[in-house]
Each structure stands twice: as C-alpha cells, then as structure tokens.
Symmetry: C2
C-alpha cells in the first residue's frame, strides 16, 4: 500500500462523469425490497463459501500458497528479478488452478535500487543509525554527505527556519497522527528540504509502532527543485535527536547511499478470470498488488491482498459456481511506485468503464476484517450492506465509508463503485514497508475469514441480476 | 536482565542457613497488630513521596536523568569505554545529588566485543539475515563458516537427530513459552550443538514480539566441549527456515562473526547511601544494573531500574527524611555477563548478611507496575503487604511471589528477604536485548509511578523499628 490518500485525509471524491458515455446504471425498475429478496437468496451460497474457506478443504490455502511464493522469491521490488520471477510463477499458478483467460498485460515500470547505504552519527556521539533509502531517491557521492542536522517537526517549522537549512541535513521528526497525513513527510520531505538548500533529508519512519525498525516507501522529486538523497530513520533515532537538540547539542551525520535509478523495466499486470455466464462483458474486478518493497517478504503488503483475491476465484471454481458477469482477478505490478501497473490498466480498459459493476482491492492487510470499505451511490451502499449481511455467520458485516486502493482509485474517481478490506491498521502500520513484513505477521485463520468475505462480496455482486447503481 | 530463573521456572528457593551466624530476625515480641499500626503511621509519608514523585517537582526527573545519560553514552556493554564513562558520570551525579558515602567498588569484568558480523542464506535463495552474536561467543574464521542447516525445535529433537548434526549449522526454532524456559536455548544452544559435532549454532531470538529484530544475550561454553560461534536470528527467519525445511528445501548459510573475548576489564559497582539515623549498620539495599547490551540504549534494561533506585534516595533526601537504617543504592556492573559485579559484592559483604533487612532490584522494566514481587518468610510477606497498602493512592498494592533479580539472588538464596518490581513482561520481552531498548520505550509518567512504589517500600522498611523477620 502506497499512499492511502482517501480513507484518512477526508478528501471528498467527486465522481467524474465521462464526457463521452452516459452511465445507465440506475434505470432499474425494481424496488429495494425486490433487491433485498434477491440478495437474501444468496444465503446458502454464502454459507457454502464460508464453510469451504474457513472450515473446509480450502482452509489455510491462501496462506500456504502465499508462504510458498514469498519464501521462494522473497520481496518483489519494482524492476527486480524477483518481481519478474513472481509474475511468472503466478501466471503458472493461475493456469494450473484452471482459471480462464490467464494472461499478462505488459507495463513499463520504474527500476530503482538502494545499493549499499549507511548513516553514522558523528556528534554528539558515534552512533550507527538504521536507515532505509526511500524509493526513487538518488544516492550520495561515494564519500557520503557529512553535515550538521537541522531537526524540524513539521513543514511549517521548516518554513519558519528556512534560513538555517542551507548546507544541512534536514531531519523530520513529525509525530505519527495517521498514515495519510504523516506520509506526506516521506513523499515530499526531500523536495521541501531541497527548496531551502538542504543537502539531504532524513525522515522519521511513518509507523504506528517500532522496534528500531526503519520503514521505507516512495518519495517524489519535483521539476525545478534539486534532487537530494533521502532516507527514513527509526522513530527511536528521531526522538533521540530531538532530545539532543533540546539540550543544545549539535548533531553531525555522515550519510552514504548507493541508491540509483535505472531505465524502466518490463513487467506485467497478471490477469485471470471466471467468465460470466450471462453478461460476460460485464466485470467485477478483485485485486491486490504483487510487487512490494525490497525489505521483508511483502507478505502483508500486499501478498495477503493478492492471494485472497486469487482465493476468491479458486473458491468459486471449487464450488462449481459461475457468476452471471465476469469475475476478473488482477495482480497489479509496481503499485508501490505509484500504481504504475494499475494506471496503465485504467488507460487501456477505461473505454469499457460502463461495464465495471464493482472494483475491489485489498491492500490494508488481511487480518481479521473489521468490514468492508465502500465508495458508491447511496443505493449501491444499501445493496452492499445487504450483501455484507450474508457474512453474519463469521460476524463481519460492517460497511464503512471510502472504499479505496492506489490501484482502484482511478476507477472510483471516475464513478465506479469501489470496495476495500478494512482491518487492524495499528498492526498494519507496525510492519508496513519494513523488514517485519513477513509471513510471521500473517495468520492462516485470519486469511480464511478475509478470503470468505472477499469471495462472498465479489461473487454475489458479480451474480446479481443488475449491476451496482452509480450516482 | 540476564536470566530470570526463579520467577517463571517454579524453582523453589530454600533459604540456606549460614553455618556461622544464627539469624535473630524474628525475636520480636510485638503482635502483628502493633506492626500494622506502625506501618499505618507511614500513610502521610507515603502520600508525600507519591505527591513529590508523581505530581510534584520531582515528576519526570528519573526519566530526564536517564535520557541524558543514555543519549550521552549510549549502550554500556561490560568492558566497554561507554560503561566506564557511564560509571564516572553516575559517580559525579550521585555526589552532586548530595548523597552520602558515594564510592566505587572495583570489580574485574568480562570484555567481549561482537565486531563485524553477518549471515547470508545462500540456498534455497539469497537472503541477508539479521543476526546478533551472543555474548562470550567466539568468532568465525575470516572467510566465515558456510554449511548446511539442521533445524530443530528443541534439545530433544537435537538429541534424536544427533547423527545429522556433524558439520552443520544447528538452527534452533524453539517456540517462545516464557523467558526463563526459552532462554535456555540461547544460553546452552552452542554447547549442545557442539556436543553433536555442529560447526555453529543460530538461535531464534527469545522475544515475545518481533519486527524482524534480533535479541542478543549471554551464552555459556562448557569445559571439555568445543567452542563454536553462536548468534541469535530473528523469529521471522527461524519461522521461514522451518517452512522451507518442511517443504524439503536444503538451506545453506554463510555465517561471519568477528566476535572476540579480551582480558577482563576494570570496572566498579557504584554505591551511594542515606546513612541510617538509629541503626546505621543495618541496610535496605535498592538497586539496578548500569551495564547493558551493546545494542539500543539499555534504557529499559536496566536504565529504568537503576534510575528509579537512585530516585528513591533523591526523593527521600528531598523530603528531608532519614530512615532509621541505612538506605544503600548499588548500581551493579556486568549484570548481563552473569551478575559479575553483584557476585563480588556478595562475597565482600556477606559477612554482614544479618544486617540486611531487604534487598531490592528492579530489572524487569519500569512501566506501570503490576506490583511487587517478594521472597521471604510468611511474616515478612504479611508486613510487605501492609507496606504495599500504602500505595493505595496510586493503585499498585499487589504483592506477588518470588522476588528476584540476577544481582540480588545471591542474598535471597542465603535467606535475606528480596523484592523486585513487576510490570508488563510482554512489553518488556518485545524490546529486551534488542536495538529497540531505547528511551522511546520509556514513559516518564510510568517511571514516576514505579519510582513512588520503589521509594515507599524501601523507605518504610528502612525506617520501621525492626528488621524484616526471616524464616
């Protein structure tokens, strides 16, 4: 998960009407009671899905499949050999699973490597600091950058103290409020520091909890602003430097980063389907991203989301079901670099936007779900609430506002109903983009529940007589 | 905190009667009601201590003092320059605080350094593993040790598979049950592996929680058994290797450790007192250890314990109090290497064992206390319960069994009543002996509460008319 702009920041999503197409998704003549009755008929199917996923032969399958992949290939950074290998393995997996229209859609993606990197505090005492360079950052000269620290807690403070920044390493010790707000320091920290003449910037990791763990992620340079090297540091070191500064100590750090940007690499979105029986050109899309950061195993972000999405199709196939419209699985590439795979997918496929009933992405963890996040018309929300009531047997029926996901936001902003899985975000952001994102975080029983929810929602929406109504 | 043998393992402590001295600590003619009445009279003093520590001018002082020390000198490994510096700073601090009989008692302590270290998984895939060499471990040859892994989950499994161990790196993936049991793998893992011909051993970190964090600690070689290099690995890597093995994969690791043992170094236990007004030769001892591992800041283990012990004397002095018997602060050296400083202190001072009313050590964290752990006679326990009832205003009145601490166990085993602070051990063992043991874990308000408890107990026991009765 890269940005999460919509869930927390309170950004209001205005569905953008395409100039070309008039949506005709709410010309239903049916009463809501009739729709409710239709959904209620899926009670037995929902129970069959839950039984298979949570108690039956398929239990723990998505966990086991995920463990095998991430243990075998490790983390899967955009542009890396391991991402390429993971895509090839998944292509074979989906074929062998008997899914339909299994294919790869080519995308050019960024290729950045961190190389060797280190940060040493030289004053007020020698202290080797844990760092992780931020995605797309340039490196330092081989001898590193050795400079005094200017520590600030906000962009406002940086502005107030702009005259002190020249020639220094700006350290951001911003408090963690929520991910969406706090991540702005990771994304824009280097640019803002460079604007006032800093040589490098170090950003307190954007994390809810830390055991001296740096959390990486992407950052963005801006045209016309000098590019400076940037990395994240631990919460612990940021807080220590803050205490040192408050005592009047002068801090000097030597930063060495071998980070480098290479030409774009070839990659693919990985696609598989269960083709619809009645409206095969209409689509419910389930998805997660296959790429990850180059630390940990990318098991949680977003192995879990990708694999419960695959599991949805597997479970439906196992039960011998075929929904009326097509259920499409997409495993996005290069989400972490800004939804690169999903952006291209949207450009290629948006001509059919009127055929997308629902776009779903799970990219906030697959722990015990709190429920489903949903963006769409009030009428669609009422329908989704009815669908979620089918999850009563596993007690996860809540529908929250603001369905989102870097990869599906393109569609949501264009008016397509969107849904995402919500769970324990404190836990999620404890491990997010760190070496701690491994299978150890994952729990097979929790993944079973998440997969059951994901499958019931995607199947029922794909099988209902009408598409979800739009605004 | 090094071992924690007594609290969890259910070892029953038999007070050992010294052959030379007959203890005369329970010749009181007073009824328990009279003792209760005496303790009840300390209600106002207890409130004054609590007010000063928690709400008054001294609030956050122990936290601020600790932060200054550990930010200034960093971690304080036995035999290191930083431990030496910390001791000198503390000597000055205690002098400047106006305490009495401030002095250093010389001790020879182990000097081990980890040097450069790394572990690379070569098969089934390249993976750089986080490790921390274990204290007292030898290093590897410069080219490292490259060998296949034999993964076991217990010493029993190692015995059953002894014939497979020769020439291999034994990896222990023991589950974490509790610290006392699980730490046996860290302490004896190398010896047991060497006995069956292994070249090295890697031990799953003994920790309640992990963000890919290795947790170091001491290990012990055994005479007549070859010394092999040994380090801890993360919970995550141990679990991954277990999954790999279960799939039939062969694992090969290259381990490089620059660890080296040097000749013993000069060090000191740091001592200060408030001399008793009526029975100056009788002692209540409060303590924590000043040394730490060479990772993190040693803020929690055991900066917190050392500094609330100092705070106890500071608060009593600030309130203009002087107990009837001497309140002695000892900041132990080289606890982590097996209570080296405390062992020597016991040898030197045990001649006066009959004069020790109570020995106290805080070495399990200074978070919000659950209460006090206590070892002693039933009558002494009843007295301690009354004393703890004085903590009602801050709602920490519980007395648990088994007071302990590596540094005070010498005395407890010889029959002296002993007390230790108990708090959230899940939290404690999340950070214990890792880079995460920093001031970020500490909370000034929690330390205030811990210091108030520590001060009330030590002061009242030091001021009561009679010493605590022994068995």
């Amino acid at each position: 998960m890269k940005f999460l702009l919509f869930i927390f920041a309170g950004v209001h999503l205005l569905p953008l009407n395409s100039g070309k197409a008039t949506y005709r998704h709410d010309n239903s003549q049916r009463t809501f009671q009739e729709i409710k009755d239709e959904i209620a008929h899926y009670g037995d199917v929902a129970k069959a899905i839950i039984n298979l996923a949570v108690y039956g032969k398929a239990q723990n399958r998505s966990y086991e499949r995920l463990a095998l992949l991430v243990d075998t290939v490790g983390p899967r950074l955009s542009g890396s050999k391991s991402l390429e290998k993971a895509i090839q393995i998944m292509y074979q997996n989906l074929k062998e699973d008997g899914l339909e229209n299994v294919h790869l859609e080519p995308v050019k993606i960024p290729h950045w490597e961190r190389g060797e990197e280190s940060a040493m505090m030289l004053e007020p005492r020698m202290h080797k600091m844990a760092i992780l360079g931020l995605g797309s950052s340039i490196g330092t000269p081989p001898e590193g950058i050795t400079a005094e620290v200017l520590l600030v807690t906000s962009f406002n403070e940086l502005q107030r103290r702009a005259s002190e920044a020249r020639g220094k390493i700006v350290v951001y010790n911003q408090p963690y409020t929520n991910y969406s707000r706090t991540v702005q320091y990771r994304v824009k920290g280097a640019v803002e520091a460079a604007k006032v003449g800093a040589l490098a910037s170090l950003i307190r990791s954007v994390a809810s909890f830390s055991i001296y763990s740096p959390h990486t992620g992407v950052q963005e340079y801006q045209d016309g602003v000098p590019k400076i090297p940037t990395a994240c540091i631990t919460v612990e070191d940021a807080e220590m430097m803050s205490r040192m500064v408050s005592r009047g100590s002068r801090i000097i750090i030597q930063l060495k980063m071998g980070a480098k940007n290479y030409p774009d690499a070839n990659s693919f979105n990985t696609v598989a389907e269960i083709v619809g029986s009645k409206y095969p050109d209409q689509v419910v899309l389930v998805s997660g991203h296959l790429d990850s950061w180059d630390v940990g195993q990318g098991a949680m972000d977003d192995g879990g989301g990708a694999f419960i999405s695959w599991e949805a199709l597997s479970l439906i196939k196992d039960l011998g079901l075929r929904p009326k419209r097509t259920l499409r699985l997409v495993l996005w590439t290069a989400e972490e670099q800004g939804g690169i795979g999903a952006s291209q997918y949207y450009q290629l496929h948006k001509v059919n936007i009127s055929k997308y009933s629902l776009v779903m992405e799970s990219d906030l963890g697959t722990f015990i779900p709190s429920g489903l996040q949903f963006t769409g018309s009030e009428k669609a929300r009422a329908i989704i609430k009815e669908v979620m009531s089918l999850l009563q047997p596993i007690n996860v029926t809540q529908v929250f506002s603001a369905g989102e996901g870097t990869d599906i936001n393109f569609w949501i902003q264009a008016g397509v109903p969107g849904a995402s899985l919500l769970d324990d975000l404190y836990k999620y952001f404890s491990f997010h983009h760190s070496n701690g994102d491994t299978m150890t975080v994952m729990d097979p029983k929790q993944m079973n529940i998440a997969a059951a929810l994901w499958t019931v929602v995607s199947y029922v929406v794909a099988d209902m007589e009408e598409m979800l109504p739009r605004s």
